[in-house]
C-alpha cells in the first residue's frame, strides 16, 4: 500500500504534468508547480477521489503547498 506522500505525489504529477522531483513538501502549487487557480480546484477534487473523502471549500482554500495537502489528508485519515 502506497503512503499518503506517494499517493499525493502521483496525483500532483499526473494533474500538473510536473516532474516527481519537483513535488517537495514546501512546493507551492501555484508559485512553484505552475498551477492556475482552476488547477488547484481540480487537484483538490482528485485528492478527494483518491482518498475517498470530502474536502470542504474552507479547508481547500488553506491547501497551498504539497505539504499542506499531505498533512491535511494524514490528519483526516488517522
Amino acid at each position: 500500500m502506497a503512503t499518503v506522500i506517494e499517493r499525493v505525489t502521483k496525483v500532483v504529477v499526473d494533474r500538473l504534468g510536473v516532474d516527481e522531483s519537483e513535488v517537495k513538501a514546501e512546493a507551492s502549487f501555484r508559485e512553484d508547480l505552475g498551477a492556475d487557480s482552476l488547477d488547484v480546484v481540480e487537484l483538490v477534487m482528485e485528492l478527494e477521489d483518491e482518498f475517498d473523502m470530502e474536502i470542504s471549500d474552507e479547508d481547500a482554500e488553506k491547501i497551498a503547498t504539497v505539504g499542506d495537502a499531505i498533512s491535511y489528508i494524514e490528519g483526516k485519515i488517522s
Binding site: 492556475d36 482552476l38 480546484v41 481540480e42 477534487m45
Partner: protein
C-alpha cells in the same frame, strides 16, 4: 443518427413551455434527458413518456433549483442514472410581474432566486463533473427583456440580464476545460407565460417584431441543439437572440 447520440442532458423546468420543447428536441437528436420539474409532476411524466417514445431514455426529477441541496440531488440523480452530464440547459424561470413602485421584496427575491441564483447553483453543481470529463455544454435561457428592459418586470429583467453576465463569466472561467457556456435570449414565444398577456399587449408586441409573428418553443429548442452539438465547437460566451428580429 442524431447529433447528440449517447449524451446526457439535464433540462431545468422541462415539464412545460420552452423547457419541454428543448427536452424533446435534445431527445430527438439522441440525447438521454433528465426532465427537471418543480411542481408539475404529471406534465413532467408526460414529457418523459414522449421522450421514451423517441427511443432514448428519460427520467423526471423534482428539484427546487433555488436551493443548493436540492440542486445537488438533481445532479446526483442524473449521474446515477446516466453516468455523465454532457449538457445542462438552465431554463427554469418564473415571473412575478409588478410595477417597480408596487413590487414587493418577496416578488423580487422569488424571481431572483429561481431565475438567477438557480442558474448559478446548477452551473456550479455540474462543473465538477464536466471538468473531469474535459467537456461540457451549458446553455442558459435568458430573455430579450434582459437586454431591452420591460416595464412591470424589474425583477425578471434584472435576473435575465444577470444570466447574460453569468454566462460570460462562466464561459471565461471554464473555457480551458472545454466547457462551453452560451445564452439564448428568446423574444415572444408562444407559451403559457405569454398566453397570459392581454390581446392589446400582444398586438403591441407584434408591431415591434419585424417577422410579425410570435416564435414557437421549437425555434428556441433547435438553437439549443445547435449549441449543444459539435457544430458549435468554437462558440462560447455568446448570447443568441431568437426573437424575429425584435432586438437588433
Amino acid at each position: 443518427m442524431g447529433k447528440l447520440n449517447g449524451k446526457t442532458a439535464v433540462v431545468t423546468g422541462a415539464s412545460r413551455g420552452i423547457g419541454r420543447a428543448i427536452a424533446l428536441q435534445l431527445a430527438a437528436e439522441g440525447a438521454n434527458v433528465v426532465v427537471n420539474y418543480s411542481g408539475s409532476e404529471q406534465k413532467a411524466a408526460e414529457v418523459v413518456e414522449e421522450i421514451q417514445n423517441l427511443g432514448v431514455q428519460a427520467v423526471a426529477v423534482q428539484a427546487n433549483i433555488s436551493e443548493a441541496e436540492s440542486v445537488q440531488q438533481l445532479m446526483n440523480a442524473a449521474l446515477e442514472q446516466f453516468g455523465s452530464i454532457d449538457i445542462l440547459v438552465n431554463n427554469a424561470g418564473i415571473t412575478r410581474d409588478n410595477l417597480l413602485m408596487r413590487m414587493k421584496e418577496e416578488e423580487w427575491d422569488d424571481v431572483m432566486n429561481t431565475n438567477l441564483k438557480g442558474v448559478f447553483l446548477c452551473t456550479k453543481a455540474v462543473t465538477r463533473q464536466m471538468m473531469k470529463q474535459r467537456a461540457g455544454r451549458i446553455i442558459n435561457i435568458s430573455s430579450i427583456v434582459g437586454v431591452m428592459g420591460n416595464a412591470g418586470q424589474a425583477n425578471y429583467v434584472a435576473a435575465k440580464a444577470g444570466v447574460i453576465g453569468l454566462t460570460k463569466t462562466s464561459a471565461k472561467e471554464l473555457a480551458s476545460r472545454n466547457i462551453l457556456v452560451n445564452a439564448i435570449a428568446p423574444g415572444f414565444i408562444t407559451t403559457e407565460m405569454t398566453d397570459a398577456l392581454t390581446e392589446d399587449l400582444k398586438n403591441a408586441m407584434l408591431a415591434q417584431i419585424p417577422l410579425a409573428k410570435l416564435g414557437q418553443p421549437e425555434d428556441i429548442a433547435k438553437a439549443v441543439v445547435f449549441l449543444a452539438s459539435d457544430d458549435a465547437n468554437y462558440i462560447t460566451g455568446q448570447t443568441i437572440h431568437i426573437d424575429g428580429g425584435m432586438y437588433m
